[in-house]
Amino acid sequence: MSVETSQVADTNSTTPATAAKPSRVGMVANWADERLALGTAMKKQLRKVFPDHWSFMLGEIALWSFVILLLTGTLLTLWFDPSMGETTYEGTYAPLRGVHMSQAFASSLEISFDVRGGLLLRQMHHWSAMIFIGAMMIHLLRVFFTGAHRKPRELNWVVGCLLLLLGTIEGFTGYSLPDDLLSGTGVRAADGFMKATPVVGSYMSMAVFGGEFPGDSIIPRFYIVHVLLIPGILLALIGAHMLLLVFHKHTQWPGPGKTEQNVVGYPLLPVYMAKAGGFFFIVFGVTALMGALLSINPVWKYGPYDPTKVTAGSQPDWYMGWPDGLLRIIPAWETHLWGHTVSWNIMIPILIMPPLMITILMLLPFVEQWITGDKREHHLLQRPRNAPTRTAFMVSLMTFYACAWAAGGNDIIAIKLHLSINQITYFLRAAIFILPLIAFIVTRRWCISLQRHDREKLLHGYETGIIMRSPEGGYSERHLPISDTEAYKLTARDRDQVYVPEEVDADGVPAPNGRINALRARLSKLMFADNIQKPTREELEEAHHHVDEEHELQAAMEGVPADGHQFDGIHTVDEERLRSDD
């Protein structure tokens, strides 16, 4: 009963199986395609085009740091014991032998001193967490400054903001796990934050800690949040972030051959697979070197958590610094209303400001779109100077952040610079309002000046540094026209239009939403009215005509000794004759 196998079809396709033996790669591809339809799915993706620019790498650093966090974190869980059960340390690290501590802290010491490469894993994990959040923030700034948050990418912007928020919480739950004195102090403060929540605060605290602070539940609870809950959400959101990136296709800088309708660059296979894959190894390698050579979070120096102890100069990880700074410079505002305590001194810096900041960030693309009324898709990036008010707004937010962050280190500043901590605090209380305002005005005017400079370059060419003396004895600097490519790049931007509301419609009826439109008009004016627009074609032609005339006048001196070109710093001038030599 043998079956004649050569007669059995080896494919479902309508054409009969061919005799030709496919290559090995072809066989694998065929096997996979007949089950997964990869042929269709990958048709356009394998050679998908990505544009090239160094700033597109920032988000990639965040992505690869997250992968490193997953890898090192998974290994760390093999040794870490997230338990608050009390134990007496009898391990290798002599100074702490015999000390009572939680098993979480003891296993952190074990990882650091008894597991070979354990300290390296811990340090790499902590460093890559720092890099992860830093890279996300810088990536966010790049996206905003270049206008990559505009339609159709608003939702991806929102996903990015959520990633930043979750990454921060993930970081906090992570560095609290070793149950050392420094992170325990942070958890103690978190207890204070919860208790400051109106109405439900006390119960929230007792629920989270499983009774009174510190209880014996918080570390195991943080652990499961840190290794399962948040990483799961992060992974899903990163997936969505990437899918949207692929779907929208990456933005690109304007330039020759690049338009709103195309994307110019190198294909995924092989160039970007090699470059992005190689970059993963580079980020990983740099993190490994940091883990090897730069000490971070030496918990054995802090010792186990003890609610009666604290060290001077207690600072959270850097990304928690700004709310901590606000918490330091807020005046002692606590009100007592109808028999209840309302702790504004905690609510404003911790419960109101960070969520408000994230909400503002998430709303930015939508607010901007409402003001500009621009509903078009944008795939060409803008230079920060070409959106002066937007750029200034973000710089203003950054200045606020910087003031708050500096306040978080006011004790360190006081010690290092021999200043009074009280005066630093008083200064920052005012600076946090004044400096962002100054930053806004300066940045906005700075951008507009740069725009003016671009316009000058387009109309009159670039400054050569060559000083010409006219027959009358006047001096002027010689300008030469810029290249077509450069000129095109400078003009490849939209003309801004200030929104003017219609007072009355065609039938003489006052337009609805009068007040809201007036607000929009005022904001639109702030955003666009002072901007320098690119020259029109007529202006360019007129200016070039003018320049040509000037060149004609100067042409008489071309080739004549000492027309100035010799002294451009490139040519040798030893043998040059001066006009007076004639």
Partner: protein
């Protein structure tokens, strides 16, 4: 964000004043035209990869050969050795791959066309139609009773997950716990002694006569070291229970010139010969405070710099804390040791919503 008044804005980008010059011509790289350069690049990439392999082998050698406690120039030899070899092995891979991509892989720029994010008009119509048909067939719009009860059910069915969180704390939710510390463990029981004040870490009780002017001592209840004396058991002051009691009972003891003390109202006799006791837990967010300025009797919290005047009833003189430090009334027992006259009369540590109930 209405679409009503957008007609005044440009719908399409206007013509550029300078026409798009088009993609620049492809520039050949030395490795494209010179076989020698190509070969050299190939060798370079391969040597990066080989370097990476060598580093990985070295990693294993160091793992086996170097002990955890060996040091090199003050660094842990194992950590530095493992990290550097692993880092270089990774960098070798990364640099090699990128070098390969830049020197040897095709570098022709490719143009791909974009498509608007919105779906084609016909697809939208089909989808809309399907949505309408489906909605119509479900009858959800025609049957408000079903719709409303469905929404009600969905809204409620998640509640058990919230309700069950109540037992995150299987113990008491009574805010009253915040008002009691171990200092008052024997309050109301005349047979048991008042709680002695013991030095933190050492556990010895303190004779009032032991303290010099200017001395500052970090203290805890003596019951941590001798629970039976106060009618408690060893289990009451162990493990996380000890941590909970510590986080409320931590105390600062300071002796100053009795004349310097400006006692709070009704607290005229809370000190013993110029010795005063205050909670060590900051009233802001609960850090233990311990930076003392001897000449001013100011106590500074290292976390957020709230500063309290211990000579002036723990008044806040600087920083974000909203309330003075709670003071503990001191007394001396028959053997001359400092004891707590009673528990704190207010809750220690950070504020909470219900806090004022007691003060009303």
């Amino acid at each position: 964000m209405s679409d009503a008044h957008d007609n005044s804005l440009p719908a399409l980008p206007e013509e550029e004043p300078i026409p798009n010059p088009g993609l620049p011509e492809h520039q050949w790289r030395p490795t494209d035209v010179d076989p020698k350069a190509e070969k050299r690049a190939e060798r370079q990439v391969a040597s990066y990869f080989v370097g990476s392999m060598i580093c990985t082998v070295l990693f294993i050698v160091i793992y086996v050969a170097v002990d955890e406690d060996q040091t090199i120039a003050g660094f842990g030899a194992s950590n530095v050795g493992l990290g550097v070899t692993f880092g270089l092995a990774l960098l070798g891979m990364g640099v090699g791959l990128i070098h390969w991509a830049r020197k040897l892989m095709g570098d022709h720029e490719i143009v791909e066309m974009r498509h608007p994010a919105r779906s084609p008009e016909e697809d939208r119509e089909v989808t809309l139609k399907a949505l309408e048909t489906g909605t119509e067939e479900s009858g959800i719009l025609r049957r408000p009773l079903l719709r409303n009860t469905l929404l009600g059910g969905l809204g409620l069915v998640g509640l058990p997950a919230v309700v069950i969180l109540k037992d995150l704390n299987t113990g008491s939710y009574d805010v009253d716990q915040f008002y009691h510390t171990l200092w008052g463990a024997t309050d109301g029981d005349d047979k048991l002694p008042k709680m002695r004040i013991a030095r933190d870490s050492i556990g010895t009780p303190i004779l009032a006569s032991d303290l010099e002017i200017g001395d500052l001592v970090n203290c805890v209840p003596h019951a941590f070291y001798d629970p039976e004396r106060y009618g408690l058991t060893e289990a009451d002051v162990e493990g996380h229970k000890l941590q909970v009691e510590k986080s409320k009972a931590a105390l600062i003891l300071l002796r100053m010139e009795p004349d310097d003390i400006k006692p709070g109202k009704g607290r005229e006799n809370w000190d013993v010969n110029g010795i005063v006791a205050y909670s060590k837990i900051c009233t802001h967010v609960g850090c233990p405070i311990s930076l003392n300025e001897r000449t001013t009797h100011h106590l500074l919290c290292p976390c957020h710099q709230s500063t309290f005047d211990l000579a002036d009833a723990g008044r806040v003189v600087f920083g974000p804390a909203g309330r003075p430090l709670p003071q503990l009334q001191l007394d001396v027992d028959e053997e001359g040791y400092l004891v707590a006259a009673s528990d704190f009369v207010e809750p220690v540590g950070p504020s909470f919503w219900e806090r004022d109930y007691d003060e009303r």
